[in-house]
């Protein structure tokens, strides 16, 4: 699956995100990978994913203007590949 505006995402439960001046470091406890989030706005969006119904509403809520959406979709897609974010699982 690749990320689109309608995607419903969450931070992977095995991932910890630590803010840094350049953005954030994310660490995946499962695959032991360290991933760099290279822009503070991407960090804000990633951390807000769980609070909104989908990607588009998250972007809007975080004040990301429409012209920047494509680059955020690309960033989220790459974060999905590295399992920092994933499709939201319905809590059982």
């Amino acid at each position: 699956m690749s990320v689109v505006l309608e995607s419903v995402l969450e931070i992977h439960p095995q991932v910890a995100v630590r803010p840094e001046t350049f953005g954030a470091l994310a660490y995946h406890y499962g695959n032991r990978r360290l991933i760099f989030l290279k822009h503070p706005d991407v960090v804000t969006v990633v951390q807000a994913l769980n609070d909104h119904p989908d990607v588009q509403s998250t972007l809007s809520a975080c004040g990301v203007t429409q012209d920047r959406w494509p680059s955020f979709i690309a960033a989220l897609s790459s974060l999905e590949t590295s399992e920092v974010v994933r499709e939201r699982q319905i809590a059982s």
């Binding site: 910890a16 630590r18 470091l25 406890y29």
Partner: protein, 378 residues
């Protein structure tokens, strides 16, 4: 942001280390000739269980993702499992290095039941002769037995950790095969002239021709082999090896030693690279964020004598610790500079005049000799 500017960011330091080594004890059942921390005997000032847990609390608050535990032999500590469990329960993953002596069937099962735990078994030769010459009589069998026990307990992918020396460069393929046999991952690291390694480095470090061999081997296998980014000085040979091409000391890396002293990296146990102590007011966090030493290491570093060399961008002048303990200036070439630029300077440094490690916990020579003569009589 490009990969290059990311490295520039990292050079300015992070809010917390991403690679923190914590040596739990100076006590060790072995007496390896290249031991980075000159371990052997316990230091009576070593951190108590309560103090160790306080450090883990601090690391949790700093959001340190995982720690590398070593020693000495960390499993010698009676509270080893207690600290392991405390760390993991607090969201700090653990990777620990061991010679394997204490991983019996029962311990292997206990370790296999834990999450967020990685184990590195040290092995410096593919056969007992090569390994035991460096790590001591019986240490090869010890390591293999631990691997067998971990395998039998279904631990999963542990790591086999090899320090590359003149005598095992030719065995890299065999190490890889051994790792594959155990479903393990191979990790190879650079021999540093630190601790007792300072005394044996001249005899053990790979020759210039062997360095090229290591470089070529890593180009071929690098994606599946861990290196702790320790071979970046070889990047001067051409294409960059995978990993961050920089010295992480005090920027993304540091060491907490068994008595709580904080050093810039695991290879520089020397007063000049001591940033503070976790027992100081403000604890580890203050040392990491505010110590004069770490702040100065995060400033742009001078290329010095290497400034005019075309390879500097590739090799970054190599390893600070390797320069320091071989008596070379820190703003010049690495002692293993592949361009040979350190050879002349190294040749005129009189052996014995190099800086000595600040502490030595080696067992008394008489004890070691006795052991050696006993084993020689077998």
């Amino acid at each position: 942001m490009s990969a290059k500017s990311l490295v520039e960011e990292m050079k300015r330091g992070l809010d917390a280390p991403i690679c923190l080594t914590w040596e739990l004890t100076y006590a060790c059942n072995l007496q390896c000739v290249h031991c980075l921390s000159s371990s052997g005997q316990r230091d009576e000032r070593e951190l108590s269980t309560a103090e160790a847990k306080k450090i883990l609390d601090d690391l949790r608050d700093l959001q340190v993702f995982y720690i590398n535990i070593g020693g000495g032999e960390p499993m010698v500590r009676r509270d080893f499992f207690e600290l392991l469990e405390y760390s993991i329960a607090n969201g700090i993953g653990v990777k620990f290095s061991t010679n394997g002596a204490f991983i019996d069937t029962e311990k292997a099962q206990r370790l296999a039941a834990m999450d967020y735990l990685d184990i590195q078994i040290s092995l410096d030769g593919i056969d007992a002769a090569t390994n035991d010459a460096v790590r001591g009589e019986g240490s090869y069998d010890m390591a293999i037995r631990a691997m067998e026990n971990l395998k039998a307990a279904n631990f999963g992918q542990f790591k086999i950790s090899v320090v590359v020396t003149r005598h095992n460069v030719s065995q890299l393929d065999q190490f890889k095969a051994l790792a594959d046999h155990y479903g393990a991952q191979l990790r190879i690291t650079r021999l540093r002239p630190a601790g007792r390694g300072a005394d044996t480095w001249h005899e053990l470090h790979p020759t210039n021709a062997q360095q090229r061999e290591i470089y070529n081997w890593l180009l071929k296998h690098g994606e599946n082999v861990l290196t702790g980014d320790s071979f970046f000085h070889l990047n001067a040979l051409g294409e960059s090896l995978p990993g961050l091409n920089m010295c992480g000391a005090g920027r993304v890396v540091c060491l907490i030693d068994p008595i709580g002293d904080v050093y810039a990296c695991p290879f520089v146990i020397h007063d000049e690279f001591k940033a503070g102590n976790v027992r100081d007011e403000g604890g580890f966090g203050k040392v990491w964020k505010e110590s004069d030493l770490f702040l100065s290491l995060r400033e742009p570093q001078s290329a010095g004598a290497c400034a005019s060399c075309g390879a500097f961008d590739a090799c970054q002048g190599g390893c600070m610790a390797a320069k320091f303990f071989t008596g070379l200036p820190l703003d010049g070439p690495d002692p293993e500079c592949v361009g040979g630029d350190a050879d002349e300077a190294l040749a005129i440094i009189s052996r014995g005049s190099e800086p000595k490690p600040s502490m030595d916990h080696s067992k008394p020579v008489t004890l070691t000799r006795k052991k050696l003569s006993v084993s020689a009589s077998h």
